[in-house]
Structures are given as C-alpha cells and as structure tokens.
C-alpha cells in the first residue's frame, strides 16, 4: 500500500460510457491482478475505488465506467494532470489455483480486473478462455485485448446484438480447470450456481477508506467476517455464505 501522486498519460473513451486511463509514477510498483486503487478527486470527500486493468512497474491502467460525480470528473481529466492515489489495495486473485485451462468470466465493468490476470496466466503458459458479457453491442469492449494475449474469447450480449445471446453462464465451455469472475452480483450468483469447478469471485462494495480501517465494506463468509477492501475483493467460492438456495 502506498499513497502517491500519479500523472495521467492517457484518458480516452473505449465505449460511450467506459474510459481507459493510464497513470504513471516513478515509484509505482506493479499492481496485483484483481487489486484496486483508491483515487482522491477534487471536491469529493471519499476516494473512488477502481480495479486495476493493467500494470507494469511505473504505470497502471484502469478502465472505469462513468456512473456518478466521481467518474464524471475523471472522464473530464486530461493527460498531464495528476491524481492522489492509494495503490496496492486488495488481496487480488490467487493464480496458483488456476490449473491448465482456467476460465475467466467478466460482466460489464467486471471485465477490467480480469485483464491483468489473463495476461499473467497466458504468460505462465495457461490456456485461458475468457467469456465477456455485456447488455448490448455498443457496450462491448476488451475482446481484441484479450485475444491479443492469446486467450480464446467468447462475447455474450443480453439482447443478442453481438456474440452469443444471453449471459456469460449461457456460454460456459464444456470443460475448464478453474474459474475467476467479476461482475454484477446477479451474474456472480448465476456463475456460482452454474460452474462445475471451484473458483474465485471479485466483489464490489461501497467503501469508506479502502484499506481496512473503517469496517464500511464488511461481509459475512463461511470463514468469518471479511472486509471487501482488505481480505477481499476476491473471495473463494467455498467461502461464500448463503448463495446455496
């Protein structure tokens, strides 16, 4: 965990509402896949937690959707401007459990945290299949980027305007060794029911601090109370409480 001033080097729209922002800083360490950063914005009290899309020493990239005042302000920022960022937050995905053919399931802005994971898994020689789900064709992003890593990619849209019609759970491959997922909670619950292997889920919650101090984002799990910001945002399937209905 570090607090640093990072410089924006790119901030461009990838769809009508999703932007890609690249940040650089001399002391910036490579971020964990599934980790997040917490960004301070002018005139807003609480920082905005955003998952890491890509990272290398000295730089990190986030993909964020404009949903409120904070992300609106971010969308208006230009290269050269700086941000006060807490980096290195969250536990991140555990890659050691992936097996040979891991499956990645992302829904909407749940897709970005899977990119760095896919990158590291493919570099490690794993055969990665990514299923990326969206509502409609205009919202689709990331397909080419995941393909460029060497992943097999399936796109689903709820209205059928692009790829397979339906949800990510309508496009599950027949076999996979393990899964990693991030997306809206109804999607996560559907994955929980449909998946036939173990896996890891990345959760979203309103946070106060993002580094474990305020207990704002606590949840109950089979192994006790956990803070989404600290012991999460990634939880293992076996830890999730109350989804067996």
């Amino acid at each position: 965990m570090k607090q640093q001033i990072l410089t924006i080097t790119e901030n461009t729209p990838v769809t009508a509402t999703v932007y890609r922002m690249r940040l650089e800083g001399a002391d910036l360490e490579e971020q964990k896949p599934g980790g997040f950063v917490n960004i301070r914005l002018e005139g807003l009290f609480l920082r905005r937690p955003i998952s890491v899309y890509d990272s290398a020493p000295g730089s990190l990239t986030i993909l964020y959707k404009v949903v409120g005042k904070g992300t609106e302000q971010m969308a208006g920022m230009k290269a050269g401007e700086t941000l006060d960022v807490l980096t290195g937050l969250g536990n991140g995905y555990d890659l050691s459990k992936a097996g040979d053919e891991p499956l990645l399931l992302g829904g909407g802005v749940g897709v970005p945290p899977l990119y760095l994971l896919a990158k590291q898994l493919t570099v490690a020689g794993r055969k990665v299949h990514a299923v990326l789900g969206f509502n409609t064709a205009e919202e689709v992003f990331g397909e080419e980027a995941f393909k460029a890593l060497g992943c097999e990619v399936t796109v689903t849209t709820a209205d059928g305007s692009c790829g397979v019609k339906g949800f990510v759970t309508d496009a599950l491959p027949e076999s996979y060794s393990y899964f990693y997922t991030c997306g809206p909670e109804p999607m996560l619950r559907a994955v929980y029911r449909a998946a036939n292997t173990s896996g890891q889920f990345s959760f979203e919650e309103r946070m106060g601090c993002g580094f474990g101090a305020c207990m704002g984002c606590s949840c109950r799990t089979i192994t006790g109370y956990k803070r989404i910001c600290r012991e999460g945002p990634v939880l293992e399937k076996e830890e999730i409480l109350g989804w067996d209905d």
């Binding site: 965990m1 607090q3 301070r40 807003l44 009290f45 609480l46 920082r47 807490l86 919650e205 309103r206 946070m207 106060g208 601090c209 580094f211 474990g212 101090a213 305020c214 207990m215 704002g216 984002c217 606590s218 949840c219 109950r220 109370y225 600290r230």
Partner: protein, 302 residues
C-alpha cells in the same frame, strides 16, 4: 514540556492529536502507512461485551464535505479484543491508548470497562453513549442526562483509570448531558459523535445506506462541533476533547481556542491515511503563524 505537549486527565501527551474511534481500527492498519508513535494517543475501535457484525451494507455514503456511516459497532467483543487485538496494537504503539467502549445496558458498559481498565496499555476509557447506528443502545444513554449519569457512575465504580464520556450531538442541550456526566464522576467528556443524517439514491429512490440513517462526519460538521465544544467547555470544569470534522492543524487550534484540552480526528483518517501525521507536522508552523508559543497556553481561553 515541548510546544505541543498537553496533559489529559493527568497523563502527558506529546501532542493533542488523537485519531477517533472507528476510524483507526486497533492501530496496526495505520502502522503500515506511518509510525503511529507520533500520535498523542488514539482511541481504538468501539468495543462491546459480545462480538458484533454490525449493520448490513451499504454502510457508507458520500455527502458534501463529508460522509455518512452506519457501521453499527462491528467488533470482535471484549474478550477477543484483549486476547488478539491489544497484543497486535502493542507491537506498533508504545504509548497509553484510549479504550473506546459501547454497550446496550448499564451492566454491559460496566462489564467491558472493568475488563479493559485492567489492561496495562489502556490509559483512558472513552465511553461511547452516543452511537447513532445501533437500535436500542448507545445513543439512548447519551440523550438523557439521568441515563448518562447512571452509565458514568456504574463505570467509575469498577474502574481506576480516567473515564471520558463520549457525547452525542443529537440532543437539544448537550451541556445538560455533559454536566450530568461531570456530576456523576466523569474525568472528562469528548464530543461530538456523528450527527444523524441520510441520503437517497435518485436512481433507485431508496436510501443509500441499508440502515436508512447513519452518522454524518467530516468537515461539514466542524462548525457545529466547534459550537458544542465551546458550550460544553463553559458548562463543565473537567477536560473536554473536541472532535467533529477536524482535518488540519488550523482546525486543531480552533478547537483548542474553543476550550478543548485535546482534539480527536475522525473521518480525515479515512480519506488520507497519513492525515494525523500531517496535522502533527503542520502544527508548529500554524502555531508560529498565529503566535502561539505552546499549546498549553491556549487553556487560558477557557
């Protein structure tokens, strides 16, 4: 004594800056950001007799110049706090610490305070009779002078260390509560806890916070807090810890000019993990600017 030193209920502090309960855990989360031994002390996470998960999420909402929380006193219970949290705290903090206690009955408060009073590292007991986020507990003791006095007397009876009663601003006359605590034997009072508030999500038309209401904190409440600290300082003779939206060295000076002996910093810790360290570092320059030789001399303003 140095320029920043103050004395709080007989214990000398290196400076008056105290992270407030609920924003600082048991210290070790912050020890990863800076050496927390620079603090005057800190008030650890509100502890109850039994373990508590707290309220359902979302527990947090943004508001102009501040935030709302409805955490609901999540804590592992006093036994585990003593067995697991205090040893970890001791590894990162070597000064006397302030033990923050909540309860749901007079007996609860006395039980938890008695246990924590025996812990060597506990310097003060801060008794929270003002949590707005727990139904049937906490705040109900802090909104009635008689009940506040009852808790104070019960805690004083079973403890040896200074007892500081943490007061609620959600009352008509906070000085009446403060006086009742003083008369019942309190060694100090701290104020203010959060102000009750709420937000509604325009898209869903439902309250942002699952518990509907929560406690407002942050710079937005500073003037209200300052006013109440000023009033209480003129109503009681015991030391007063001022808190509510304090975010800078200047805010600390303002609180002390209102009469506060020490100052707690809450929400600022959540948006900037190093907030308290920066405030302490900024104090000497701010004092120079306003021609304050040492903080102790501000006592004259009370």
């Amino acid at each position: 004594m140095g320029r920043l030193n103050i004395t709080l209920c007989g214990i000398e502090l290196d400076n008056p800056v105290i992270p407030a309960s609920g924003t600082f855990g048991f210290g070790y989360e912050f020890a990863q950001w800076y050496d927390i031994n620079c603090l005057g002390t800190f008030s650890f996470k509100g502890t109850t007799k039994d373990p508590r998960f707290g309220n359902p999420t979302p527990r947090i909402a943004e508001c102009p110049a501040g935030m709302i929380n409805a955490v609901g006193l999540q804590n592992p219970g006093v036994e585990k706090v003593i067995a697991e949290e205090l040893p970890k705290l001791k590894e990162v903090f070597r000064k006397p610490v302030m033990a923050n206690v909540s309860g749901f009955s007079v007996e609860d408060y006395a039980y938890t305070c008695e246990k924590l009073d025996r812990e060597e590292q506990v310097g003060w007991l801060e008794v929270n009779i003002s949590c707005p986020n727990v139904h049937g507990g906490g705040m109900s003791f802090g909104t009635d002078p008689k009940a506040a006095a009852e808790v104070t007397a019960a805690v004083k009876k079973v403890t040896t260390k200074p007892v500081i009663m943490k007061l609620s601003p959600n009352v008509t006359d906070i000085t009446a509560i403060a006086k009742a605590c003083e008369d019942a034997g309190a060694d100090g009072v701290s104020l203010i806890n959060t102000l009750q508030g709420m937000r509604i999500d325009l898209k869903t038309r439902k309250p942002v916070i699952k518990n509907v209401m929560g406690g407002v904190s942050g710079p937005a409440v500073f003037p209200v807090a300052l006013r109440m600290v000023y009033q209480v300082c003129r109503a009681v003779k015991i030391p007063v810890i001022g808190m509510g939206g304090v975010s800078s060295a200047e805010d600390v000076l303002e609180m002390m000019m209102a009469g506060a002996t020490a100052v707690e910093v809450g929400a600022a810790n959540l948006t900037d993990p190093c907030a308290c360290r920066k405030i302490i570092e900024d104090l000497p320059a701010a004092m120079d600017k306003y021609r304050i030789n040492n903080l102790d001399e501000l006592k004259g303003d009370r």
